[in-house]
């Protein structure tokens, strides 16, 4: 039998034994145990080491508020660090490790930090480590040296490098009422709302519904509260209107009554079922929320309050009643309120001996005296604990007479033998979600607690969340909240369950700290002591935010759930102000730490979808390697065995210029612009005229932003009187669509135009080169493709391989070229037909590299030049700016900042040292490799030009055209490429366009 397992009781399954290891040692527990309860049952007291002083620490709580007992859970190589052992359900084969200790939990060398105590008090690092002002350690060096060691000493658990193999999912949910918490208040609320027809979701962060009913030891409707709750929970699970989510933490209250919750679907299992996510990220949009999140007990602040074996009274009660585990065999309790008396009874019933109850209050009620006597406990009223003894577990405590009104200690310190000290410093309602929703909490002096604010969003509170700490109140408030959330009202004669419990006074004595010699911890995990809080006060860090930031109080993984109020109270005492005047911090999401995987959800491993062209599989089969172009995959080259990228694109470009090449242009943005006002609309959005374009013809168009800067370009085809097909660059397709929609909806709503994205409707293949027309002629049926039928910028309709196609003669490569469009589902069919037809002519498929090469040779601009800073004039496209009409950007494009002579303008560069250029290299007038300076511009795109037989580039250079013919230097210190260049026109190749006009 485990040393601390009670012989009976608890809601664990004693017939099922579960095996696990902690720090390599094998243990057993029972189904229903948490790691903390199972280890406690095995007599383990030492769970971890604190952050700064590496002090030994045990378990403080039984839930999500745990600051001390953090572990790393391992599944193979995969590590989950910093998990509170109080929230880990054990399963067969669980492997857990303690953290922040070296070489072992028991013997941790960094515990030496404790000796430095006062030297490393709050904020000490701001006052030192600056290092010398001169010498080799000047500047930031000395600090960075110190930082190296500080970083290694700090941190808690270690994250692994192995990819997380888990699956995560998001779930979008809608309901009428979301009930957060399933204690008596939550259960009642859910049942009441669902019975009125509301769609209800109940979220409970523990595995078991019932909340405090599972451990209160009270009686409801004549049965043990836990059984009553289990019965009610069973009813909810089968209720058609209710979805019950156990193991689900509602962690975020966002705008519009949208709440985020984390469901731990498989963490408690040895392995997930097929397809089952580890975590499910619920996003719940609800009309009403019932907040029944309960309250959390606070510790008391006194010297030695962090020693393993010092625990919250409610946690010990929970371990006893819910898990059948004794926090100690000889238990002392220290309290400022009535709650500890119930805990004493629970522990005594479970088999522990109660050594004493130390109560700071001078007077307590008869009811409490009776409870103490039931528990066999000696009461020390008007006393306080001033020290604890023991190394890795409490062995005894010291108590002294205490005056609650002024905090004075008197008399001799007495020693009481105990192996466990339970403390209760009052309760703080869990108002986090209400605070996140947007309002400020209010202080209740009676309860010594912050209570929920007036709702700013649509929620209703119930039970301990409201500061209504009795089960009777929880039942009534839960019922009323459920009805109200469903739009109904509670009636006086509603038949409510009756709770039977010894009534206690919910109000604690306003005592937070016992000031005696020794370190008294406020924030256990971050090792913030009460002296640290007072130091912050002395140095003027008195607002609550300064207190937090200066001392790191409340910034640990438990987010100050146990430390915020005591810290505030100590500061208030130092300032001589009431607590609410020091303030409370606003709670922000998440309520408790949330796995990053769950938030990435289905996008973990699938960050963005892939966009594939209709011919994608053909490209793959034919040896293409790909680039990402936005979400698209586009062929870069179709490399042959042994070819470098440069060799491949040079071959492809050369073949295109000599015979013919074909490239997939399906990714170009395509927008159907339809309607009686389509031509007028295009006149307004393009810098040039489209109303004059004949049906069956295409025109190159250029667009500016409102501020006169170049936005995008492309050809637009007039397919009918009211029917245009606009093409955009691949990168700007979405942006241009939104731009056009904005103008149509907001600025020109009177225009009758429909805009539709038809990018995916059409497969596009551009075939160009001296043989392109012959190839087309050999495979196109139903239309001639000669100069007369299909002049430059003409459009014809015909068939290829029995498939209807639309062919436009236009050219990006500078060759005679044609874009062949077909329905996307026929894309591969048409492409293959063109490839087959081209075979006798020497047609080659080419990728983006060759496309880029040919466009550089022609001096065509793309995104590298239309970079959001250049104007039409900078790119020598001023001929596109119609003076006959206003268009978007026309009013702003002539501002002097956009027309000044020192702007960067498009030029061509020839390499004079026969070495390649790199995109992003700069251009200078005087070369200085050691100390590069005097940039006059930069290279936007570079290639080896097979047509010119040399390395060339496009560049944006100050002065632009004026420099044609002059020499300069490429200066690329990042890649150590320097050398002479000649600045030339950007039209490197066939400037008259005779090849494409042919």
């Amino acid at each position: 039998m485990s040393p601390r397992r009670a012989t009976s009781g608890g809601r664990i399954d004693r017939l099922r034994t579960i095996r696990f290891t902690f720090d390599g040692k094998a243990f057993t527990g029972h189904a229903g145990d948490t790691l903390a309860s199972a280890l406690l049952a095995n007599g383990v007291t030492l769970f971890g080491r604190s952050f700064k002083y590496h002090r030994p620490r045990g378990v403080l709580t039984a839930g999500v508020d745990e600051p001390n007992a953090l572990v790393t859970v391992l599944r193979g190589d995969v590590r989950e660090p910093n998990v509170p052992s109080t929230a880990v359900e054990i399963y067969d084969g669980l492997v857990a490790e303690s953290q922040n200790r070296f070489p072992s939990l028991k013997w941790d060398v960094s515990a030496v930090n404790q000796l430095a105590g006062k030297l490393i008090s709050a904020g000490f690092y701001y006052k030192t480590f600056m290092g010398p002002a001169i010498g080799p350690f000047k500047g930031t060096r000395f600090w960075m040296l110190c930082e190296h060691f500080i970083r290694r000493a700090a941190g808690l658990g270690r994250a692994g490098r192995a990819a997380d193999p888990s699956r995560y999912e998001r779930m979008n949910a809608f309901c009428d009422v979301l009930v957060v918490g399933s204690g008596p208040a939550g259960l009642m609320a859910a049942a009441a709302a669902a019975d009125k027809g509301a769609r209800v979701i109940v979220a409970e962060l523990d595995a078991r519904l019932g909340g405090s009913a599972n451990w209160s030891g009270e009686t409801i409707d004549g049965m043990p509260a836990a059984e009553w709750a289990a019965g009610l929970a069973e009813g909810l699970k089968t209720h058609p209107n209710i979805r019950v989510l156990p193991r689900t933490t509602v962690w975020g209250f966002y705008d519009g009554n949208m709440l985020a919750a984390l469901e731990r679907v498989t963490d408690h299992k040895e392995r997930p079922a097929k397809g089952e996510p580890r975590h499910r990220h619920w996003v719940i949009r609800t009309k009403k929320v019932v907040l029944a999140t309960g309250a959390m007990e606070r510790p008391l602040i006194f010297p030695g309050n962090d020693r393993p074996g010092v625990m919250l009274a409610s946690a010990a009660r929970r371990y006893a009643n819910e898990f059948g585990v004794l926090a100690g065999s000889k238990v002392a309790l220290f309290t400022n309120n009535d709650n500890a008396y119930h805990a004493a009874v629970a522990l005594q019933k479970a088999g522990a001996g109660i050594a004493a109850i130390i109560d700071v209050r001078a007077n307590i009620s008869d009811a409490m005296r009776n409870l103490a006597s039931d528990a066999g406990a000696q009461i020390h009223t008007g006393h306080a604990v001033v020290a604890t003894e023991g190394r890795t577990a409490v062995t005894s405590i010291k108590v002294q007479r205490f005056e609650a009104t002024n905090g004075g200690l008197s008399g001799e310190a007495r020693t009481i033998q105990a192996d466990c000290l339970l403390m209760s410093g009052g309760w703080s309602p869990a108002i986090h979600l209400a605070s996140q929703a947007g309002a400020k909490a209010r202080w209740d002096n009676e309860l010594q607690a912050f209570l929920p604010p007036e709702p700013t969003q649509s929620w209703i509170g119930a039970g301990a969340f409201n500061g209504s700490f009795s089960t009777t109140e929880a039942i009534a408030e839960g019922h009323a909240a459920g009805l109200a959330a469903a739009g109904a009202k509670a009636a006086a004669n509603d038949d409510l369950p009756v709770a039977d419990a010894v009534a206690g006074d919910p109000a604690p004595a306003p005592v937070f700290e016992i000031r005696a010699n020794g370190k008294s911890f406020v924030d256990f995990q971050h090792d913030v002591t009460s002296e640290d809080v007072r130091l912050a006060h002395r140095e003027g860090f008195v607002s609550v935010e300064h207190l937090k930031r200066y001392t790191t109080l409340g910034m640990a993984t438990d987010q100050g759930k146990t430390s915020n109020i005591p810290g505030l109270a100590i500061m208030a005492a130092a300032l001589g102000k009431p607590i609410p005047e020091v303030g409370t911090t606003r709670f922000r999401p998440p309520f408790a730490p949330v796995s990053i995987g769950s938030l990435a959800a289905e996008r973990y491993g699938d960050i963005r979808p892939e966009r594939l062209t209709p011919m994608h599989d053909w490209h793959v089969k034919n040896g293409a390697s790909f680039y990402a172009a936005g979400l698209w995959h586009r062929p870069m080259i179709y490399g042959h065995a042994g070819e470098t990228i440069e060799q491949a694109y040079v071959r492809e470009a050369k073949a295109t210029r000599e015979t013919a090449g074909i490239v997939d242009v399906s990714t170009l943005g395509k927008i159907a612009v339809q309607g009686p006002d389509a031509a007028e609309f295009l006149d307004r959005v393009y810098t040039n005229m489209f109303s004059t374009l004949a049906i069956g013809k295409a025109r190159y168009g250029f667009m500016l932003r409102e501020d006169g800067i170049a936005m995008d370009d492309g050809t637009t085809w007039r397919l009918g009187k009211n029917d245009f097909l606009m093409t955009t660059t691949t990168a700007n397709a979405g942006k241009v669509m939104q731009h056009l929609e904005y103008f149509l909806d907001i600025i020109w709503p009177d225009l009758k135009v429909t805009l539709t994205s038809v990018t995916d409707q059409w497969a596009g293949a551009a075939i160009g080169g001296p043989k392109a027309r012959d190839i087309l002629a050999s495979c196109v049926k139903g239309t001639p493709v000669d100069n007369a039928a299909l002049p430059f910028m003409g459009i014809v309709h015909g068939k290829i391989a029995d498939v209807p196609v639309m062919i436009c003669r236009l050219s990006f490569s500078g060759e005679m070229a044609f874009e062949v469009y077909s329905g996307a589902d026929y894309g591969t069919h048409v492409w293959q037909a063109l490839i087959d037809a081209g075979k006798p002519f020497g047609l080659v498929p080419y990728g983006l590299e060759a496309l880029g090469t040919m466009r550089i040779e022609k001096g065509h601009v793309t995104g590298a030049e239309i970079d959001g800073r250049t104007t039409a004039r900078d790119l020598h496209l001023d001929w596109m700016l119609s003076s006959k009409k206003p268009f978007i950007g026309s009013a702003m494009m002539d501002r002097n900042g956009l027309t000044s002579s020192d702007r960067l303008q498009l030029v061509g560069l020839l390499s004079l040292d026969n070495r390649p250029f790199n995109g992003g290299a700069h251009v200078v007038e005087e070369l200085d490799e050691q100390n590069p300076h005097g940039s006059i511009g930069h290279i936007t795109a570079a290639c080896y030009s097979p047509a010119l037989g040399r390395y060339i580039a496009l560049a944006l250079v100050k002065g632009g055209k004026a420099r044609h013919g002059s020499r300069a230097f490429v200066s690329d210190p990042l890649r150590k490429r320097f050398g002479p260049v000649q600045i030339v026109s950007h039209h490197f190749y066939d400037p008259e366009g005779s090849r494409m006009h042919g």
Binding site: G275, E276, N722, V758, A824
Partner: protein, 195 residues
């Protein structure tokens, strides 16, 4: 004419997968209709468009945002103000619709190749779709026949509920394969069959 090639062709493999041992939660298939046509009405011309749809397809669209109708071979639904999608097994209803809609009434845009239609049916269809789309799939909020326009990150979708447990999802063709993979993966938990 040549066979149309679906973007799902290499990845759509019939059979049951995932946790299907206790029955499949959803059935996934591609509908591959002959025509997917978008119609848009100028202000005040909605009724005329609805009438044209009725004339060409026989489908009587109900009034109201997102209203729609589906009968197995044909379907139509509103997806935006004064905009509708008409779906037909037959390939070339676009011409008939173009004839029926004059430029004074509105526009007709053929999207038959531009959208891929994926059908998800079964008891867990709404559960699986809710993993992707932040819309309320309950029958009350999303009645049979109705259409919705929504998005899963980069993937824009129009969804019609064609039966109480059946949804037809229209996605951009270029995204269809990615979406199909995601849909299959999301269905593993409930067990799925591809038909």
């Amino acid at each position: 004419m040549a066979e149309r090639l679906s973007p799902l062709e290499p990845v759509l493999r019939p059979g049951s997968r995932g946790q299907f041992e206790n029955g499949v939660g959803v059935v996934l298939s591609e509908i591959a209709p002959g025509s997917i046509i978008q119609l848009a009405a100028w202000p005040g011309q909605e009724k005329a468009i609805i009438a044209a749809i009725k004339k060409v397809t026989g489908l009587a669209l109900p009034d109201g945002a997102g209203g729609g109708v589906a009968n197995g071979q044909k379907a139509a639904f509103g997806f935006a103000p004064a905009k509708f999608i008409v779906v037909d097994e037959a390939e070339s209803i676009s011409e008939a619709l173009t004839k029926a809609v004059s430029p004074e009434v509105g526009t007709v845009t053929d999207l038959s190749h531009g959208r891929t239609a994926i059908r998800i049916s079964g008891a867990k269809a709404a559960w699986v779709l809710a993993k992707f789309f932040a819309i309320d799939f309950s029958l009350v909020a999303f009645p049979v026949g109705a259409g919705r326009s929504t998005v899963h990150h980069d993937i824009f979708a129009q969804i019609q509920r064609s039966a109480p447990d059946q949804f037809d999802v229209y996605v951009f063709r270029s995204f269809a394969r990615s979406f199909w993979h995601a849909l299959c993966r999301a269905s593993e938990e409930v067990g799925y069959e591809v038909r």
